[in-house]
Every structure is written in C-alpha cells, then in structure tokens.
C-alpha cells in the first residue's frame, strides 16, 4: 500500500522569502503522479502543482516548484517570494493511474503561515 509522509506539521516564513515543504512517499509502483494541494482557511482544496513520475524534469508553476527525487521517494515543494495569500494547509498526495480508481492518497499536511 502507498503511504505519504509530511514530517513538518507547521512552518512559517516571512513575506517575500522562500520556504520548502517536505514530502516523502512509499510505493512499489513505477508510474504514478504526485501532487501538492493548498487548503486555505475557507477549506476549498486547490491543486498547486503536479508531477508525473516518468518525467525527470521538475514541475514549475510560477512561484511554485518541486524537487522530485524518484529514487529517494522525495517530493518537496518550494514556494518563492512568499505572499500572505500563501498562508494555508499544504497537502502532498499520491495517485496511481492504473486501474479504474484514481483515488488520492494524502499526507497529514503542513500548516504554512506567511508573516508580514
């Protein structure tokens, strides 16, 4: 069974600084997807970034980028130029694309506070 581990329950960063959130996972699959989701206090879960395991290039979306280390089963999220609106819970999630079910397997989350 797949598992996702986020070892940082809480983090804080100063506005405009850079912060890195950690995620490790365990799977015997070779092909899969990894995601970072953001959940602001309003609780609507929003996709931040995704990574296909077969792609060696790290995904980037504006100020958000990942460091995907497949052999180490590590998938960290870097937020550059942090903004107050980045304050939220961040969840790392895993999906195995094979079969009929594309269910997401989630970590426990990291609460990020961006301070002015």
């Amino acid at each position: 069974a797949q598992t996702v581990t986020q070892s940082q329950p809480e983090m804080s960063v100063q506005e405009a600084e850079t912060v890195t959130l950690s995620c490790t996972y365990d799977t015997s699959e070779n092909n899969y997807y990894l995601f970072w989701y953001k959940q602001p206090p309003s609780r609507q879960m929003i996709l931040v970034i995704r990574q296909e395991a077969y792609k060696q290039q790290n995904a980037t979306e504006n100020r958000f980028s990942v460091n995907f280390q497949k052999a180490a089963k590590s998938f960290s999220l870097k937020i550059s130029d942090s903004q107050l609106g980045d304050t939220a819970m961040y969840f790392c999630a895993f999906m195995k694309p094979a079969g009929n079910n594309r269910k997401l397997i989630w970590g426990l989350g990291t609460s990020l506070a961006v301070n002015p």
Binding site: Q44, I46, R50, E52, R102, I105, W106, G109
Partner: protein, 115 residues
C-alpha cells in the same frame, strides 16, 4: 462555470441521527470521489463513482455509510445512526474522464458535527 458544490455546508446531528450530504459535480464530469477529513488530518478516501457505477467503496468505514449516484451526476453520502467519530469534513471531488490523468476539482466540503 460552476465548480463542485456541496450542501449543506454545515450539519449538526445528534448521535444516532441519520444524515445525508449532497454533492453536485462539475457538469460532464464522469468521476466522483468522496473523502473524509478529520480535524487536523489529511483527507482519506471513502468511495469512487464512474458515472452511476460505484467502482470502489473500500474506504467506507462501516456499513453505516452509504453513497449513491443514481443518474451519474449528483451524489449523496448517507450516514446512518451517526456516531461522534463521524465528525469530520466530507469532501467531494469530480474529474472529467478516465485518462491517465484528470485533475480532481474539490467542493468546499460539508462539516459534520455529531453531538
């Protein structure tokens, strides 16, 4: 266009009551997922529909939980004889198709409190 909507947004139930939570997915989305998110935890998968077919209900915690999607659109998650441990936010997500990757779009959730 409208996103995924859920109702009610908040539900308070007395222990032993039955509750029904509704999810309206994005129009045309084939796949629909229910997740349970306990306070301070990550979401956990409950069940999955492909159109009206419930293809995976392995995450439902007990036979008190029942989900349906009779016409392949709106889905209802029903919890019978609620217990305090059922208190959580119930998230619904939908995705367009069955390709290798289809983004799941989430609703705002229903916060269930069982007293």
């Amino acid at each position: 266009g409208a996103g995924v909507s859920q109702s009610p947004r908040y539900k308070v139930a007395k222990r032993g009551q039955d509750v029904a939570l509704r999810c309206d997915p994005i129009s045309g989305h084939v796949s629909l997922f229910w997740y349970q998110q306990a306070l301070g935890q990550g979401p956990e998968f409950l069940t999955y529909f492909q159109n009206e077919a419930q293809l995976d209900k392995s995450g439902l915690p007990s036979d008190r939980f029942f989900a349906e999607r009779p016409e392949g659109s709106v889905s209802t998650l029903k919890i019978q004889r609620t217990q305090q441990e059922d208190s959580a936010v119930y998230l619904c997500a939908s995705s367009f198709g069955l390709g290798n990757y289809n983004e799941q779009f989430f609703g705002p959730g229903t916060r269930l409190t069982v007293l």
